[in-house]
């Protein structure tokens, strides 16, 4: 109870006397302007992936980690193996690790954290996200743990490593918490918690006793800065060392500035337009393919996305280990027209194609501000469609309204065409919620109301296959079928741009659903 109080006084003084400058001690400070707000300090209870990226990654460790290519690396676990039926994973834990409060890390700590995260009464997001499908954690000995579920858990390692929410916290620290606001994050990670102001700065200091290589900066300040222009201006002024989510149209200009570096890498996420396959306009696969041939992806990427993106050659992003380059629907209005004619859609008196009195018309929904270049892409696509007699009108929806529409069941859904995005680190969570026939809204995000028994069967088999090679094969086949069936307009895979001052080195990109940046290894010359 005393500590937060002291902290408040210190912070109040810092604010009164003129902000962060006074609280910055000697040593190297690294400041990161984060594009979203951190919702709370407990990653297991957080709903914000930003919390996983900022708090989860730096104060805490996970049993396993991802590298830049989404390979699994040791974290707090040094070895792991699945049981033959895939329902139980055995983890060997790292020895000699201590939490920031001095308590030891061991099997009891892991069991405590997993049990807490999956406790149905606590309703923690990490329980369904990082520990999805897990039903129990059991201590075998002081440094061996078994984590098991009722069904096989092939995605467990990816899920733990992905978001930064599947953290191991100090049980002693959690047990001390009486009121949620007393929560202080205590982990084993490379940085220790110093202070946090909601919607302001999260201040961390280096953990010199870190089990891995300790960080080279002394202080890490993560500043919530949702306004794009402010982030860019602060970086240009040299007031922050790194910013996330650089707007795509600023990349070229920032690249030209001295003292600033910019990089954009593939994320696991992608942007697409779902076609409601239960509507008469889009029930015929020839129409869906025709429309795909009308999307000039190369030009869109070059002109609308300023070169930041990659033409979709699969339903999923290329950062996935299971990604398969299937094919690209190359822009070709000729083929498109031919397919539309074959499908029986002929130009009517108003220039719009029709069949049996039904016009080939639809509304394309785009959420405001969610996808870089989203509204522009939609307008280009709609314009190309109109050019061959497909009457598509773009409608921007405010985000809450958009989400509301996406949650309507098939009988009530008003979706015709809708722009959407998806992406997680594991192919199961990457494809099942958007393509399986049991994932129709409101339960899932199969916004095309796509139903293909073969895809369902493959996705079910993938969810039970623990062998990595078998998974790659199964998910490769899914990508082929979906590409051919075209329930979506395949657009681009997303890239996230990050910019930093040139004196910073060692910024790592890890494609994850929480965002790309890993600052644990940065060094700064300042």
């Amino acid at each position: 109870m005393i500590r937060p109080l002291v902290l408040c006084v210190v912070l109040a003084l810092a604010v009164v006397q003129g902000g962060p400058a006074i609280s910055a001690p000697a040593g190297r400070t690294f400041t990161w302007a984060l594009h979203v707000a951190i919702d709370r300090l407990d990653p297991s209870a957080s709903f914000a992936l930003a919390t996983g990226m900022a708090v989860g990654r730096n104060i805490f460790d996970r049993l396993v980690e991802h590298d830049e290519r989404l390979n699994i690396l040791p974290g707090l676990a040094t070895q792991w193996s699945p049981s033959p039926d895939g329902r139980t994973w055995t983890f060997k834990l790292r020895q000699g690790v201590r939490f920031h409060d001095g308590t030891p890390f061991n099997a009891d700590a892991v069991v405590f954290n997993v049990t807490r995260a999956i406790d149905p009464q606590l309703r923690l997001f990490a329980g369904t996200f990082a520990w999805g499908g897990v039903k129990a954690a059991r201590k075998v000995d002081d440094f061996t743990v078994e984590i098991s579920g009722d069904q096989p858990l092939p995605a467990l390692l990816n899920n733990i490593a992905d978001s930064g929410l599947g953290v191991i916290q100090s049980p002693a620290a959690i047990q001390r918490v009486r009121e949620p606001r007393d929560f202080v994050p205590v982990g084993t990670g490379p940085f220790k918690f110093v202070s946090w102001v909601p919607d302001g700065d999260l201040v961390l200091e280096a953990n010199r006793e870190y089990w891995g290589s300790p960080p080279s900066v002394d202080r890490l300040v993560i500043r919530a800065m949702p306004t794009v222009t402010t982030r860019v201006n602060l970086l240009e002024a040299g007031e922050v060392d790194l910013i996330t989510q650089v707007p795509i149209h600023e990349i070229a200009r920032l690249k030209g500035l001295r003292g600033v570096e910019v990089d954009a890498r593939a994320a696991t996420s992608w942007t697409y337009i779902a076609m409601n396959t239960t509507r008469p306009q889009f029930s015929d696969v020839r129409v869906r393919r025709a429309l795909n041939y009308l999307v000039d992806k190369q030009t869109i990427i070059a002109k609308v996305l300023f070169g930041v993106g990659r033409v979709a050659d699969s339903p999923i992003g290329s950062a996935y280990r299971a990604h398969k380059s299937v094919k690209v629907y190359q822009y070709d209005p000729g083929i498109a027209k031919q397919l539309l004619e074959e499908a029986g859609w002929r130009p009517g008196p108003d220039g719009v194609r029709a069949r049996d009195g039904q016009r080939l018309a639809a509304t394309l929904w785009v959420p405001v501000g969610r996808f870089p270049g989203g509204a522009e892409m939609a307008q280009v696509v709609a314009s190309a469609f109109r050019g061959v007699g497909v009457d598509v009108r773009v409608q921007e929806l405010e985000f809450a309204a958009y989400l509301g529409e996406l949650r309507r069941s098939q009988a009530e859904s008003r979706i015709e065409l809708v722009m959407a995005g998806w992406g997680t680190a594991d192919p199961d969570s990457g494809m099942r919620p958007v393509l399986h026939s049991q994932s129709m809204p409101p339960r899932g995000n199969n916004l095309a109301f796509y139903r293909n028994a073969q895809v369902d069967d493959l996705l079910d088999r993938g969810a039970a296959a623990v062998d990595p090679t078998a998974r790659v094969q199964i998910y490769g086949r899914v990508q082929e079928i979906v590409m051919d069936d075209a329930p979506w307009l395949f657009l681009t895979e997303r890239r996230e741009a990050v910019a930093w001052r040139s004196h910073v080195r060692g910024v790592r990109f890890i494609p994850s659903s929480a965002g790309l940046i890993d600052v644990r290894t940065v060094t700064t010359a300042r």
Binding site: P247, H249, E250, R253, D296, T299, I300, A302, K303, V304, V366, V368, G369, A375, E376, A378, Q379, V380, A382, S383, R393, V394, Q395, E396, L397, E398, A401
Partner: protein
Amino acid sequence: MATMPVPRSDGAAPEPERRWWAQLRRDRAGMTGLAVLSLIVAAAIVGPVVTSQDPFQPNLQETFLPPGSGHVLGTDQLGRDLLARVVAGARASLLSGLAALAVSLAFGVPAGLVAGYSGGRWDDVVMVAVEILMSFPGVLLAFLAIAVLGPGQQNVVLAVGLASTPVFARLVRGSALAVREQEYVMAAVALGATPARVAVRHVLPGCLAPIVVIAVLRLGTTIVTIAGLGFLGMGGDPARPEWGAMLSQGQEFLRRAPHIALVPGGAMLLTVLSVNLFGDAVADALNPRVLSWRTHRGG
């Protein structure tokens, strides 16, 4: 100034009207406003005929062109001609503004008339509703309306119109309260006219002057509010050349191509400024003679 001209027995009153116009003409700022506004209206009417460029068709080979360069005002992020878009936007903005005003008048004037003329319980009911609505900022009311109605330009117009309805309701009620005490109204009642007839034929004309003044003054606010909702993406189709939406899309590129935001922003500034200058002048010209005008027209 003669505030109490002798009423003519035939009821015709050309003289005060001419004076009203004469005073307006002497108001330099007001006339400048009127001139600019006329230009904008003219552009809105004939513009789409004059500019050969399509305001809707993206042309990705000609994006971000600066003013000049074959496009007088340059092109936007999708290569569309900005002159064509801003002119098409003038038509949309003016029409939307007028339509929203019509909505406010259609609801506000009858409500205010009923409240002001009949008084009693009706007055209480209407005025409590009006006071409740007035305690919300207008934009918030419009947000609420959009939340219920859904996005789209028609709904934006309806929402903004409904949001400024209470202003007119209260204004008309106030005027009606004053006018119903006038002798000619009492005379009409004494002659046996029905309340509805008295309200519409005798009280309403007496309230016209303030309605006109406030309506002109509100036009600017209405256009800005509609653009504000467009700016926030509530207008629905982003391809529509609506000034607010254009401004919102252009601000992203403020450093790279400032003209994309400055052109619609400037157009909006000019329009609202000229509407307000003209509105002020109309208010000045009409106000001193509201009473006499009312007396003459009301008989």
